[in-house]
């Protein structure tokens, strides 16, 4: 399972990086979302998968899944939502002000301070 997940994480990262490197703002944003998904899965995979039942205290159960990466990922999910929203608004405001969503045309110039 970990092997499969490692590959999935790799695919997610590949797609994310490819999108982030492109020139279109929207694709970059989608790339960051994918990057977030990839790192969430990576965190879980690192600590080992399915090592026990859900980390909720119950009688007669001593093996639990690792709760720490879950807590980390939970915060990460919410944070990446906030960041995505921020990016989206940034992108649409930039598009409104500059009239382009092409990163190459957005680069600052010498005269532009």
């Amino acid at each position: 399972m970990e092997f499969l997940m490692s590959i999935i994480v790799g695919i997610l990262f590949t797609c994310a990086v490819y999108l982030i490197l492109s020139k279109s703002l929207i694709r970059i944003i989608i790339g960051t979302v994918l990057l977030g998904h990839g790192s969430h899965l990576l965190l879980l995979t690192m600590s080992g998968l399915k090592s026990g039942s859900a980390p909720v205290l119950m009688d007669n159960i001593s093996e639990y899944a690792d709760p720490l990466p879950q807590a980390l990922v939970l915060t990460a999910i919410v944070i990446s939502f906030g960041v995505t929203a921020f990016f989206l608004v940034l992108a649409y405001r930039a598009y409104q002000e500059l009239g382009t969503d092409n990163m190459e045309q957005m680069r600052g110039t010498e005269s532009h301070d």
């Binding site: 859900a54 909720v56 205290l57 939970l74 915060t75 919410v78 939502f81 906030g82 929203a85 608004v89």
Partner: protein, 141 residues
């Protein structure tokens, strides 16, 4: 824009969002022992509000629920910080929580925990920011 007929959506939403909110509150309080908690509860509540927002419109929403969500975020943050700082009054390090078991009429023996206060802060912040974001974007033309 052409006036669309979404009576069915609006009627269903009224009931559904009410149920979702109730469920989210349950999730919030159950969070200490079973899955749930401030984040999930807050998100669930926010989702219900978003649903309402989508089926009605912003003006109606503001009339029904006249909250300032930015203020809600601030209050949530304040509650969280004060809960954490409250520990200092009892001469224990910042963020030390306390709990005890109380015998409350009707409910029986219940444990009361200061972590719930902190979670209320989280809950309010999550609703506050989600709604601030959605509402602000929705209002911009």
């Amino acid at each position: 824009m052409k006036k669309t007929n979404d009576v069915i959506l609006q009627t269903v939403t009224k009931i559904i969002s009410f149920i979702i909110i109730l469920f989210s509150i349950h999730l919030f309080f159950a969070g200490h022992y079973t899955p749930g908690g401030g984040f999930i509860g807050g998100l669930m509540t926010a989702a219900a509000l978003v649903l309402l927002l989508l089926s009605y419109d912003i003006k109606t929403m503001n009339k029904i629920l006249p909250f300032d969500y930015k203020r809600m975020t601030a209050i949530g943050l304040l509650i969280a910080v004060l809960t954490a700082a409250g520990a200092l009054l009892f001469n224990v390090p910042f963020f030390t929580h306390a709990y005890d078991y109380f015998d409350i009429p009707l409910l029986g023996e219940t444990s009361l925990h200061t972590a719930v206060l902190f979670d209320i802060g989280v809950y309010l912040v999550v609703i506050g920011i989600t709604m601030t974001i959605i509402q602000t974007i929705g209002e911009s033309e």
